[in-house]
Subunit: 380 residues, 2 copies
């Protein structure tokens, strides 16, 4: 091909980087709900990045409120409000007032980040989105909760603010966006398989029959690898929620009750007080030992797997996998997810790594925030 | 927290999906350079998605030109031009005219997709970007070529059009964007390790010493797994280019000559004609057998690995890896990349899957196109 452009150096339109960033300057007001472990790390990440983002991309992040369950802080920049209350005053939490404050004047870009694990907060998403607020969350309750609420959220986000929730599945690993890209470019999902619980992955990796399963649960509990009540992990329900989120992302109108969940907690221990459960933990050992023996009999390993196929079959539970299976070789607490699609039919696309922890979860939320910020129109 | 929002059903602002999409309607003019294997699959993917994208997202993709090396086709919608030339007329390729046609009127969104493997096309990116055209490419030449050209492209894209190149590394696998997200959210890259060549991965996986290495190369060549000249794979240079792309993405100003590349082609065979090379292929066997024996002596496996660390050490070549290493368990032609960062320090983030082929490469380009389209402002 013939060259037709003038040499680069002669081109008159290029601006230096700083000017360029300023010409794309836009402000995003951010309000955080739930300043807990993840929320407070996110605040630290955002603060550390503010100057760099403004310099390199023209994005001015303006943190204008934090709402905990009882108290909230509003960075009021309205002089009248400031006259009545001191700026940076804590006051009783009122989410309606909080959202209105973050939203601010007509036409400003504003986002709520929900790091609570509160179902009532999730109930407000569709309202906030319809009013033009963007919403980002690692909270699984909206995306895996009642289907009608989820559909209302999706409908609201098509018109108003944008809704993102990458960190609901495997924290900062690129899972939801990867699935989205596959589908948006016209690929067809055939199946998803994964290990979505670092705790269960650790327990299965460690469990070789030399020590009873109950001893490993006690150790994981003492190390803080499990939830305060280990049944929250062992029941498989948290994993099932992640599977529902991916199914819905693929357009399959699935709910939690559509997932066949095998709990590792015997039915008679499901409802007893925590103390009694911990005392009777040895009752898990016999059924687990039987499953392990079965896996070993087939030269396999025992893993806790979630799977979903396009016939609507969704399962969560123990599986005996042949030892060359990629899930047999993960690192201790790693999460793993593999997508089999029309284009990735023979060899699936696989993402693996730590899928929990405040730093990586906050980074997943932050990446969502940046993805939305990229799409914001420059406003004076 | 108290509920403060009215019930969802009462909310007055929600629009039906179609209306919502129309309210966000925007047109993106697209010109394709290089309608080869990847380019023609991309055209098919774009055409298949046009109707869905318009309906669901309000994005109208308008294909307005295809430029091959000698001829180009312009979908001229200017009545005067149509009077002089028939619409859909092929004419001799003139990239200046092509870009001007795709750019069209001031203010329209326009993108060039470069699926050529042509260095002269890559030389025009910065000019096109500065003029407001977006550029998307799987062409490695810009991102791994001369550093000054790369810097000019980056500078131009900060002001003008956007530049994306996910498919330059591992085709459709989420690699460049994943690294970008890690860095943009404030993480620090410590190292990258990967197997970026499906061909070399296949050769290493198959090579267990029972058959000579040369026989495997002949088989791969016959199956079409290698480039027409297998030295293009065996030299490791294509892998080195991908490593340079990731290094630059991380902000490290690296060039090809900074990478220590171990070629699997003996120096005396590097420049001989292809026919002679194929005839003398057995000369690869002794050195490869020695490397394999060394790996086996340490109970390891032989893999072709690219690695990069923050001290600027970049290497491409054979490595003996311990058998529990994740690279030891990939599926035949899979690519794999693992990022070790400040946040993913103990357990890295890992992406794996097929990293070549027209369908997945085109999908990687398409995802880049959609990422840019998301950020386009609505214009009447």
């Amino acid at each position: 091909m013939e060259s037709c452009a003038p040499p680069i150096a002669e081109h008159p339109h290029r601006l230096p980087s700083l000017q360029a960033a300023m010409s794309r300057r836009r402000t995003l007001a951010v309000g955080l709900i739930g300043p807990g472990r993840v929320g407070s790390v996110l605040l630290a990440q955002l603060r550390a990045a503010q100057e760099r983002l403004l310099r390199d991309t023209g994005l001015a992040l303006k943190l204008c409120g934090v709402a905990a369950s009882r108290r909230m802080w509003l960075d009021c920049d309205d002089p009248e409000l400031n006259a009545q209350h001191d700026a940076q005053t804590w006051r009783p939490t009122d989410l309606e007032q909080f959202a209105a404050h973050v939203r601010g004047d007509e036409g400003r870009h504003a986002m709520l980040v929900d790091c609570s694990a509160n179902d009532m907060v999730a109930s407000k998403y569709s309202y906030w989105l319809a009013s033009g607020l963007h919403v980002v969350t690692p909270n699984k309750l909206a995306s895996s909760g009642p289907l009608s609420r989820w559909q209302a959220i999706r409908a609201a986000s098509q018109h108003g603010g944008r809704f993102r929730y990458e960190a609901t599945v495997c924290a900062g690993l690129p899972v939801v966006q990867t699935l989205r890209d596959l589908l948006d470019t016209g690929d067809q999902l055939l199946s998803v398989e994964g290990m979505f619980s670092g705790t269960l992955a650790w327990l299965c990796c460690q469990y070789d029959g030399k020590r009873p399963f109950s001893a490993l649960v006690r150790e994981a509990h003492a190390l803080g690898y499990t939830e305060p009540d280990p049944r929250d992990d062992l029941s498989g329900m948290d994993v099932a929620r992640k599977l529902v989120i991916l199914a819905r992302e693929a357009g399959w109108p699935m709910s939690l009750h559509d997932v066949a969940v095998e709990s590792l907690v015997p039915a008679e221990l499901a409802e007893v007080p925590l103390e009694e459960f911990m005392a009777r933990l040895e009752e898990l050992d016999a059924p687990m030992a039987a499953r392990l023996a079965e896996a070993h009999a087939h030269q396999g390993v025992l893993r806790h797997v979630a799977s979903l196929d396009r016939n609507g079959r969704a399962q969560v539970g123990l599986q005996a996998l042949p030892s060359p299976h990629p899930f047999a070789h993960t690192r201790l607490t790693d999460n793993i997810v593999q997508f089999r699609t029309q284009r990735y039919r023979d060899n699936p696309l696989l993402v693996q790594g730590p899928g929990a922890g405040p730093e990586v979860t906050a980074a997943g939320i932050f990446a969502d925030l940046l993805r939305i910020a990229e799409s914001l129109q420059v406003r004076a």
